[in-house]
């Protein structure tokens, strides 16, 4: 009995002292990523990157001499779980800011929680409704779909292709893209002559392509995530499709080239700059950050860093900048974040303001082309 009591006491002491030691000099940052579950392809690189960046910051002496502690929870892609975890981060872990969640659905669910608790959130999800309208405590790092559309249209305009066919996937990503494609077309003098869709699980799109081929279109824009666009690329090759094909940023990964094979050659798409980091001109302000991220990720995880990891990199680095300038309380971080100007990150150059918590322009994207099973910058 006595020994038990002793052990109990010493354990208590140990726990108390260790929390005290931590509390003395650490800045606690919360992270919500769907490391497992359907959006694991987003959450895993995001969690990895956040860890990597925080470790790097701590090795370099922390922020203003204070170490950073990253408390990351897995949301499994479930909005309910995301809300629970966010509450836990705020109430139990007393974090000063949260990065994530990975998906738009989870982010929308978490927003009321952080707004009520006055804790800044930097989401890594892409949906434009996250920051439109602006929420006081909510920022985001992933590029809006509208910017990718603007980038393609800008390119089409310069290449004098005005009659365009669009083929979008009938899910959330495709619906949002279709909306933006239709809304922005008049501004660039573009006429949509075919507006067709395909199902996310469809396995043959030759019918749609045959119809588009028979139309007046001068170019085709395909809006979807793998595997649909790869099937379309292969169908187009089978049909001897001659129109230039543009894809969305949803397929700017090596995976797409692997799926589409030689049919991917010559396709163009707007993409974040990560995949062409090496080929960027030296004067590109993002080049240093991009190379640091790509090399760091390769070194630590033996994999190429991707856009998704980049969103987490930007979120942590934006926080770091804000804490350096303003201090480590939630209110100070929020105010400093909103004053972020010319932050050259992975996703683009961020300029937050009271009216814009997304912070990017269409220059966050670059038009790339598939050549020799790799990416080159399209001119």
């Amino acid at each position: 009995m006595k020994t038990l009591l002793m052990i109990g006491c010493s354990v208590c002491l140990l726990v108390c002292s260790s929390t005290l030691a931590l509390a003395a000099g650490t800045i606690k940052i919360g992270a919500l990523f769907s490391v497992t579950g359907p959006p694991a392809f987003l959450g895993e690189p995001e969690r990895n990157t956040a860890k990597m960046v925080v470790d790097g910051i701590n090795r370099a002496g922390g922020i203003r001499g204070q170490k950073v502690e990253l408390i990351a929870y897995d949301t499994v892609g479930d909005p309910t779980k995301a809300v629970q975890m966010a509450t836990r981060l705020i109430k139990d872990d007393h974090v000063v800011a949260i990065i994530g969640p990975s998906t738009t659905g989870e982010t929308m669910a978490v927003i009321p929680v952080v707004e009520r608790a006055h804790v800044p959130l930097i989401s890594c999800a892409a949906g434009s409704k996250i920051t439109d309208p602006v929420k006081h405590y909510v920022f985001k790092t992933a590029q809006n779909d509208g910017l990718a559309v603007a980038k393609i249209y800008d390119y089409l305009q310069r290449h004098r292709q005005q009659r365009v066919a669009i083929l979008t996937v009938s899910d959330g990503f495709g619906a949002s893209g279709r909306e933006q494609l239709k809304a922005l077309a008049p501004r660039y003098g573009i006429r949509l002559v075919v507006d067709d869709t395909y199902g996310p699980k469809d396995t043959d799109m030759t019918s749609q392509l045959t119809r588009i081929r028979a139309s007046q279109a001068q170019a085709l824009i395909v809006w979807g995530t793998n595997p649909g666009p790869a099937v379309i690329a292969r169908n187009a090759r089978q049909l001897g499709f001659r129109l230039p094909i543009y894809m969305s940023h949803g397929v700017s990964s090596k995976k797409f080239i692997a799926l589409a094979g030689s049919a991917a050659e010559g396709l163009k798409l707007p993409s974040g700059k990560v995949i062409v980091a090496d080929a960027l001109p030296k004067k590109d302000p993002q080049k240093n950050a991009l190379l640091a991220f790509v090399k760091g990720y390769q070194h630590q995880y033996r994999q190429e860093g991707d856009h998704f990891g980049g969103h987490a990199w930007d979120a942590v680095m934006l926080l770091k900048g804000a804490i350096e300038r303003g201090g480590a309380t939630p209110a100070a971080i929020r105010d400093a974040l909103e004053r972020t100007r010319n932050f050259h990150g992975i996703g683009g150059t961020f300029n937050y303001s009271a009216a814009d918590h997304a912070g990017l322009t269409k220059d966050a994207f670059i038009m790339v082309e598939v050549r020799n099973r790799g990416w080159v910058i399209a001119n």
Partner: protein
């Protein structure tokens, strides 16, 4: 391009998709005749075909010609295990329970596939290149010819098996009257097992020949399974030509619908046909109410 060529293109695309549906549909009807239930795990064997072939190619570095038969064999073994573990212990259960068991089995197989191979989409290499072949203005890939060829061969083989071999005839006997078949010395349980193995193998082969065109992932079985079921219903659950025609009709209608009306209705077309047939002609498009079901 003129309208005629467009139409031909829709037709060719539809026929090749339809051939896949037909093979899956035949798998449904074989099991249906053996124990009188719809095996909703049929789609998962289609998935297993593609995924196991991919696994053999990438992890064991087998050549394609060896990986395909091995994958079909493994899938039919999976069919056997499925029958042993999920169907046989419930021999006395009412058909509805059995059908629900097959749905449970399909979820289990899909889940296992996701745990083992992840949730990425993969592509099998084409059997003989990707250079398009032009037919009167429309285009085909060599893989389409493989699909047509293998489907025709399988249908002939299937017909021969059920009409001219002892095992095939025994299976037919079981489908007419299991009790009588048992009385004349046919091992009914064994025939049920065969039915599961054959249908799994056919499904797997359908999955393999389609995968170079359609890609494969752990969850392709759901939709393909439903479309195959649809084909079998149109064909009145016959394991012969009627189901093949059912599959082809379905494929062509989908393709024409997507091309001429809107691709948004593609899946709707299949399921509207399914409902119409079930409501108006439950014996199938070609069947008489008491047709011979083989």
């Amino acid at each position: 391009m003129d309208f005629g060529t467009q139409l031909l293109q829709y037709l060719l695309s539809g026929l090749s998709t339809g051939a896949i549906y037909a093979l899956i549909g035949i798998g449904f009807s074989i099991v249906y005749h053996a124990i009188g239930i719809i095996n909703f795990a049929q789609g998962e064997f289609v998935m297993l075909g593609g995924m196991v072939t991919l696994f053999l190619l990438q992890s064991l570095h087998l050549p394609l010609w060896a990986a395909i038969p091995l994958a079909v064999l493994l899938a039919s073994l999976a069919g056997l295990v499925f029958e042993r573990l999920a169907i046989r212990p419930l021999r006395k259960a009412p058909p509805l329970s059995l059908v629900i068991v097959t749905i449970g089995g399909s979820i289990l197989i899909r889940g296992l596939a996701m745990v083992i191979w992840g949730n990425d989409t993969h592509r099998l290499p084409s059997f003989s290149g990707d250079d398009p072949i032009t037919v009167a203005g429309a285009t085909l890939l060599p893989q389409h010819l493989w699909i047509f060829g293998i489907t025709i061969a399988l249908i002939i083989l299937n017909k021969w098996f059920f009409s001219h071999t002892i095992s095939g005839k025994a299976m037919r006997a079981c489908s007419y009257n299991p009790r009588a078949a048992g009385l004349v010395g046919i091992d009914v349980r064994r025939m049920t097992m065969f039915a599961f193995m054959i249908s799994a193998a056919m499904g797997a082969l359908a999955g393999i020949i389609a995968a170079p065109l359609t890609m494969t992932s752990y969850d392709v079985g759901i939709m393909l399974g439903l479309k195959g079921f649809c084909a079998a219903i149109i064909g009145g659950m016959s394991s012969g030509l009627a189901t093949v025609v059912g599959g082809l009709v379905l494929g062509v209608l989908e393709s024409l619908g997507a091309g001429l009306i809107s691709s948004g209705y593609k899946d709707a077309i299949a399921f509207v046909i399914l409902l119409l047939i079930l409501l108006l002609r439950p014996q199938g498009l070609f069947g008489r109410p008491e047709s011979e079901r083989v």
